[in-house]
Amino acid sequence: MKKTILNFLIITLAAIALNFSNAQTEIQISREGMKPIPVALDGFTGEAAEVLKFDLYVQGFSFVTPDAAQYLIHGSDSGNVIGTVTDKLARKVILSRSYNGASLRQQAHAFADDIVQAATGRPGIAQLRGTTARIAYKSQPSGIGPGEIYVSDFDGYNAQRVTSDGAIVAKPAWVPGRLALFYTSYARGNPDIFYQSLTSAQRRVIAGYSGLNTSAAVSPDGLKLAMILSKSGSPNVWICNADGTNLKRVTTGIEDSSPAWSPNGDWICFATVHNARRRLAKVPAGGGEVQYLNTAGTPSPTEPDWSPDGKWIAFTCQFGGEFDICVLPADGSAAPTVLVSGQNPSWAPNSRTLVFNHGSNGHQTLSVLDVFTKQYKDCRRATGNNSQPAWAR
């Protein structure tokens, strides 16, 4: 009995230590970054090995020899995925599990999430509500034409076309917790905002006013929409109910773009022009005074996306014709950090991984980035020209 109590205490202490190290991690996001967690992967082949390597790499793991590893990941994928994770330091198996059902690919994603949970105490990103996590994006699979909206797994696999209008499309946005999108389409000859259910293919025009209707962003509770309309004479942020009713203008700048909600729904961050300089700003979602954010050192900031935990705002900055992904503490406590070359960052639910696009104009590739280690890997399955990815939350 005494031993049991002792074990329990050890586990509790370990849990506290783990939480403490998480806190450390979060502080370091805006500094030099963090070292990857070294693991040795063995026993997996083909697709399962490929999935595990992708999923773990974009969540801050690195692959080393067993000697240099902190965790040993061992298993097999003959028929089903089965695997164990051994903590070398603690000389303990921290995960032992087999998987059944769906595809080998989905089993490997599930194992990757369990590895992340066991090794870091944080949920993994590969699955969401029982299926592989998804992204929506704008794609020209053959690199030409106006492009269509696509939905795929977060690593670019299992892509499905959502639109088939042969018209310019832009900026898909997920309804939180649902298989439904808002996006911009020029199908009616004007950039209009459409709502489309992915389960029934039903769609509606939500904003089809004269001039610009674009950049839809759904509030975290799914009830409201922020977007850019120019019907008052300049491109500004407007909000409405998810069905398009109760329209209200919330900014009056000369040229505003790319609204993004704070996770509590109180604020809308957007790109604007202030004193002839491009800035990021935030405005209360009900309208009110605009506050400009500290984006010192990152010229021409655009495309903000607020992390689900509320702590960070990822955005794109521009040096000449080159774009970089940046992250800014949402409370303004520090200047932004430039991470890697790219555009259009969108947060995964873990507030640590981003999907974005990078490459030369007309040849943009989707990629998944671990903000802490700056490790990223391309979603090479999505061929052609791909941009404006949005991570389903």
Partner: protein, 205 residues
């Protein structure tokens, strides 16, 4: 007994921890993964017919701005270029160009705007669609806003030349419709532009 009562919940917690992390040797715990099933995405094509959605709404802004790009003219109109004959050739020579990252109509472009204004004055039935465009050196949604402001700036300039803004509609293509798809300054300067499309009533209408 009392001791046991205390320890029992602790043991349950420990057992649960062991079960989920699988510390014990032997058969590992199995996770059953559901297939796509009810979570699957419906057949995405063909798309249903385009819905009508919101009617094009007259704007609520008032009057004419005091300078280019002041954003004071609401985009109000009740006609649709899709229902008219679009003549892209008529004013093709009058495309105006902009400086990098700017929506200011330059003095050098004023004579072209005067030609556009004359075309509208000479045919009271004619309307105008202004297409704003950008070079590729900006993010997509930023450029969509910038292209719209370029189109709106020309609309305001035309209003100063006596053209009723109700006859003018704007559309921004951002960087999605370059005139020249090369990646150099020569191409970029061509792409930072407003194209003017003369819209005429369909014959027989």
């Amino acid at each position: 007994m009392k001791m046991n009562k205390l320890i029992f919940p602790l043991m349950i917690a420990l057992a649960a921890t062991l079960a989920t992390t699988g510390c014990k040797k032997g058969t590992p715990k199995t996770t059953q993964i559901p297939g796509e099933g009810q979570f699957g995405i419906g057949t995405p094509e063909p798309n249903p017919p385009l819905p009508n959605g919101n009617p094009i709404e007259p704007g609520t802004g008032s009057g004419i701005g005091t300078g280019p790009g002041t954003g004071l003219i609401a985009t109000s109109d009740n006609w649709d270029p899709a229902n008219m004959t679009q003549d892209r050739a008529a004013l093709a020579a009058d495309t105006i160009h902009f400086a990098f990252d700017s929506a200011v109509v330059r003095d050098s472009e004023q004579s072209k705007l005067a030609t556009v204004a004359e075309a509208l004055k000479s045919d009271p039935n004619a309307k105008l669609l202004i297409e704003g465009n950008c070079d590729e050196r900006g993010t997509e949604e930023y450029n969509r806003a910038l292209g719209e402001r370029r189109a709106l700036a020309a609309r305001e300039a035309l209003a100063k030349l006596g053209i009723d803004p109700m006859r003018v509609r704007t559309i921004s293509y951002g960087k999605d419709k370059p005139a020249d798809s090369s990646h150099d300054e020569a191409a970029w300067s061509k792409n930072r532009r407003d194209d003017f499309v003369l819209c005429l009533p369909k014959t027989g209408a």
